[in-house]
Amino acid sequence: MFAFIVQRMFQAILVMLAVALVAFSLFQFVGDPINNMVGQDATEEQREALRERLGLNDPVPIQFAKFVINTAQGDFGVSYRIGQSVDVVLADRLPATLELVFVAAILALLFGVPMGIYSGLHRDSILSRLFQTISLIGISLPTFLIGILLILVFGVWLQALPTFGRRGLIDIGGWDTGLLTIDGWRSLILPATTLALFQLTLIMRLIRAEMLEVLRTDYIKFARARGLKNRAINYGHALKNTLVPVITIMGLQIGSLLAFSIITETVFQWPGMGLLIIQAIQFVDIPVMSTYLVLIAFFFVMINLMVDLLYFVVDPRLRGERGGAH
């Protein structure tokens, strides 16, 4: 178990280094950032001074080593566009995205899991068919369209909810949270729903398919033949066996929620990292882009590590023969 964790940590570090290399090479290949930073009438000396200050004159391997060391210490450089250091800019944006993703993931699980179980157990009931139909919409409609439709219905027609921005923030130790005020929740609910809808339908369909599969297995039939109660069979035996694939997919999906909240944040003008990265791309703000890349990769790696550990909790077959034949 311990050896496994160490091994996974080592792999995680390799992955992060590879990502860092990609992030770093952004600096090398996406034009000369100096042009974007200084005015048209800047002198050659001014340009050179800036180039020197940003360390752009060092040899490439040294630049990469510096980049890795700085990044590992949380120093991501200075945003070309805003002129502030990137960690400050990100620290400002991160809470917005994390709260949005967190609430969206909770929504997706809270509704997706029970709906999936229900439609797996009663696959021919009217309600399951309704769920299936709704999930088809959730899967096939693009996020921006869902966002715009929600704005139309709840913002324009019903005038019930705000359609853009993040309000009602309270600062807790440098973390601006919107989860403590009604206003904060009101502005969160539409973007979170938009982001959650696809995940919700995905989780629902996955659990349904897995439940149908597991309910056909011999051990479920044997559990019935032993006269176990339906509750015990459905939730104790069947549901637990659907968990391994479900955990895998959910881990990946939470990662992509973080990475791809861009569209939702743009539609709702949500001041998170997604919006930041869109603006950064427009301005070729490479420090922000590369930091974003590294950060998202870091989240993915951490989530995958947690998923691997969860496998251990759920499935004894992966624990090896530990405690077995001795």
Partner: protein, 331 residues
């Protein structure tokens, strides 16, 4: 024979409604199993053996359903019970052993947990009491160092050991009847005899009647008291095992026995019954066996034979009906 049989099946019919019409997987079969008795059920794949067992415990997979007939357990009709009442009978009064021990146990729970869960579902035992009982059972089915093994997962057991666990699970609350559906088919040949012997011994000790479903005549010959031969969803012959094996009455049983190779006899070609069992969609009129039967005559093509009692054996074949008539005519 005034005693009530443990299991009595009358005119059982299992159907599968399909778009092209209803398939009849088990067609009008009747048999019984007495207390302490082992009834072997043999037949080819698709003859309806397993379907019969599954119908008795009322676990047919939809759309399969019992289309007619009655099932009695200790004289009480059970085929029409509501789900919850039937659930209490499963495991409590009817235990079942399935074919593949590798897939019969839930891989995510220890064998102890699965045993304790089953015991506690059907009895008032406490967690500790159930665990004690589970340990006794594991020891009883011949699992060495049960104390340690009880907290292990199914994947830590070999196939034979797993089937022992499955038997322990089927017997854990002393059921009246055990339905063993090909309990040794998935096992290594060297283990098969052990498992069958164990099953027979334990059922005897626990006072359970056994319905042993198999296609292995050797197992039947050694284990069963009586044997039911099935063909195309119908019963061909039921009788005491020695009689059926040595003096088979139904031409199908005769063919079946004739096709078992004998040790010591040199043959170039194994004996076989010509043709193959009809699909459920193509069961012929009259006796289902007539297209392959060397003794078939006009009546076999038109009329379906009922079970005709011939001594201790019941056989569904017109040959015997005619013989009876002839004897009567002469007598």
């Amino acid at each position: 024979m005034a005693q009530t049989p443990v299991l009595e099946v009358r005119n059982l019919r299992v159907e599968f409604p399909t778009r092209k019409g209803t398939l009849v997987a088990v067609d009008d079969i009747s048999f019984h199993v007495n207390e302490g008795e082992v009834l072997g059920v043999v037949g080819e794949s698709g003859a309806g053996k397993s379907m019969t067992g599954t119908a008795v415990i009322n676990l047919l997979e939809p759309p399969g359903r019992i289309g007619g007939g009655e099932v009695y357990l200790d004289g009480r009709r059970i085929d029409n019970l509501p789900y919850e009442q039937m659930r209490r009978i499963r495991g409590r009064q009817i235990g079942m052993v399935f074919q593949d021990p590798l897939t019969s146990l839930n891989p995510l729970y220890t064998v102890g947990r699965q045993l304790i869960e089953t015991i506690r579902t059907h009895t008032d035992l406490s967690e500790q009491g159930a665990r004690k009982r589970a340990l006794e059972l594991l020891a009883e089915v011949g699992i060495p160092s049960a104390e340690r093994r009880i907290d292990q997962y199914p994947h830590q057991f070999s196939g034979g050991m797993r089937q022992r666990v499955v038997i322990a699970l089927a017997l854990c609350v002393n059921p009246r009847l055990v339905i063993a559906d090909e309990p040794t088919t998935a096992l290594d040949v060297s283990i098969q005899a052990q498992i069958i012997a164990l099953l027979k011994k334990l059922c005897h000790e626990h006072g359970a009647a056994v319905m042993l479903i198999t296609h292995d005549m050797g197992v039947i010959a050694e284990t069963a008291d009586r044997v039911a031969v099935m063909y195309a969803g119908r019963l061909a012959e039921v009788g005491p095992v020695q009689q059926v094996i040595q003096q088979a009455k139904h031409p199908y049983t005769e063919g079946l026995m004739g096709s078992i190779p004998k040790v010591g006899h040199h043959t170039d070609r194994l004996a076989q019954i010509e043709g193959s069992m009809p699909r459920l969609t193509e069961i012929p009129n009259g006796c289902a066996y007539h297209p392959r039967c060397p003794k078939a005559f006009a009546r076999c093509f038109a009329e379906r034979p009922d079970l005709i009692t011939q001594g201790a054996t019941d056989v569904s074949c017109w040959l015997y009906d005619e013989e009876l008539q002839r004897v009567e005519a002469h007598g």
